[in-house]
């Protein structure tokens, strides 16, 4: 039976890139559709009427939305190169950390990188305090991940797993945000394990081939959110 796999995504989105990474890891052929998020296609709106967001995976006409839900769907449908462990407790653990990254880390990182740029000159002191608080929060969150990694090569153990893919925001996009905003968050002295992991992560073929060009991404975020402290 001819399989049809479509991925609706956006070139700079870590969420749609996750889906492509997982498909690539498993050797699944798919057709990619780039969405202009300022002008969403009728197809996207049809396939994800509830959230109207990317990514959406459409498998033989049936849509699946939400990147972490899609990753699990991919793992359950194409059994080669499993990305989740077999043990139920380990699976729960991976799911927990993936959710942690999406729900807690990302917004904290954004706040630390760009939160302090808003506000007027006279509120500079207040903005500084808020900024320091935000940076501290990110540091605490990254410490949890650093501890979770322990001595493993990847979060998934010897091979890249669901949590590594979900952590693409930390492994690649975080570096981009740092450079675009001039805020340092993932320092080698505090997070040597995470830094090592990030270096290994971006070298994995299935991952490397699905990373958007760094310069283009930096320019995009600088343009969208401002250069922050980078120009100081």
């Amino acid at each position: 039976m001819a399989e049809e796999v479509l991925v609706f995504g956006a070139w700079g989105s870590p969420f749609s890139r996750r889906v492509e990474m997982a498909l690539k890891l498993k050797g699944i052929e798919y057709k990619y559709i780039e969405e202009d998020l300022t002008n969403k296609s009728p197809s996207l709106l049809k396939y994800n009427p509830v959230h109207k967001k990317i990514p959406v995976l459409v498998h033989n006409g049936k849509p699946v939305a939400e990147s972490l839900v899609i990753l699990e769907y991919i793992d359950e449908t194409w059994k080669d190169h499993p990305i989740l462990p077999k043990d139920p407790y380990e699976r729960a653990n991976a799911r927990f950390w993936a959710k942690f990254i999406d729900e807690k880390c990302l917004s904290a990182i954004f706040k630390a990188c760009w939160g302090a740029c808003w506000g007027e000159e006279k509120e500079h002191e207040k903005a500084e305090i808020e900024h320091e608080k935000a940076v501290k929060e990110v540091s605490e969150l990254l410490q949890f991940l650093e501890n979770e990694l322990k001595e493993k090569r990847y979060f998934g153990g010897e091979t890249v797993g669901l949590l590594d893919i979900a952590a693409n925001t930390i492994g690649y996009w975080l570096g981009v945000f740092e450079e675009a905003s001039g805020v340092e968050l993932l320092t080698r002295e505090k997070f040597s394990k995470l830094c090592n992991w990030a270096n290994e992560f971006v070298c994995v073929t299935a991952i490397k081939e699905n990373l958007p060009p760094r310069d283009k991404l930096i320019a995009y975020f600088r343009n969208r959110f401002g250069a922050g402290n980078a120009s100081k």
């Binding site: 699946v64 939400e66 769907y73 139920p88 942690f100």
Partner: protein
């Protein structure tokens, strides 16, 4: 499981997420201990098991902690394979289920909480958003129950049934106290019928706290949030 498994749930009676896990343990007939946490004064045990979110529910299985109700549910379903299964085998059906459970827990629950803890214009705005979410859910119910709401038996209750009933089970008491309709049989007739049928399940009915207790907690919640938002 062959050997004896020690299962303990740390919870708080008013939390729909705790109720969800509790119901699941009962339906699967899993022996467990329950520890009621005072959220004003969290136990050291809880903080040790959930240092990141410091929240309930926490399920401790043979000393190993699990947090986040939907993650706990999947763990329970994968580990205790006897009895009713909450998640289907088919990956597509599973994906749909995960999507909608998350929708109820996030989009529906969060907007509901905004309604419960606000007043005046803010409450009106929150209510509008809440009703929009319920409408979305109502549309989906047509797909889930294309022939209308079937008779729901404790033996064939599914994960979304449990998520919906635990999230919305206190609505009557909340409606009475706030003086506004939350689940309107005219606006969302399918949701209303579904919820009514679910609330009749013996397991659910028995576990429903008294009206006064729900109202008391709502009063407390409103006091806490309304006093902290008025500068």
């Amino acid at each position: 499981m062959a050997e004896e498994t020690k299962v303990r749930l740390h919870g708080m009676w008013a939390s729909p997420f705790v109720r969800l896990v509790k119901l699941t343990l009962e339906i699967k007939d899993i022996q467990s201990e329950y520890v009621e946490e005072d959220l004003e004064n969290r136990s050291l045990v809880l903080l040790n098991y959930n240092p990141i979110h410091k929240k309930v529910p926490v399920l401790v299985v043979n000393g190993k902690p699990l947090v986040e109700s939907l993650i706990i549910l999947e763990y329970i379903d994968e580990t205790w394979r006897n009895g009713p299964r909450f998640l289907p085998e088919d990956p597509y059906k599973k994906a749909q289920l995960r999507f909608w459970c998350s929708f109820v827990h996030k989009q529906v629950f969060e907007t509901m909480m905004s309604v419960l803890t606000s007043d005046g214009e803010e409450q009106e705005k929150a209510a509008k958003e809440f009703f929009e979410r319920l409408s979305t859910l109502e549309e989906e119910i047509k797909n889930i129950f294309p022939e209308g709401i079937q008779v729901i038996d404790q033996k064939n209750v599914g994960l979304l049934d449990l998520v919906v009933v635990t999230t919305l089970s206190h609505y009557k008491a909340q409606e009475e106290y706030l003086g506004l309709k939350l689940i309107d049989p005219e606006m969302t007739p399918l949701l209303f019928s579904w919820l009514t049928a679910l609330l009749e399940l013996p397991l659910v009915k028995e576990a429903l706290p008294h009206h006064e207790k729900v109202v008391g907690f709502l009063k407390y919640l409103r006091q806490e949030t309304l006093k902290s938002t008025s500068a």
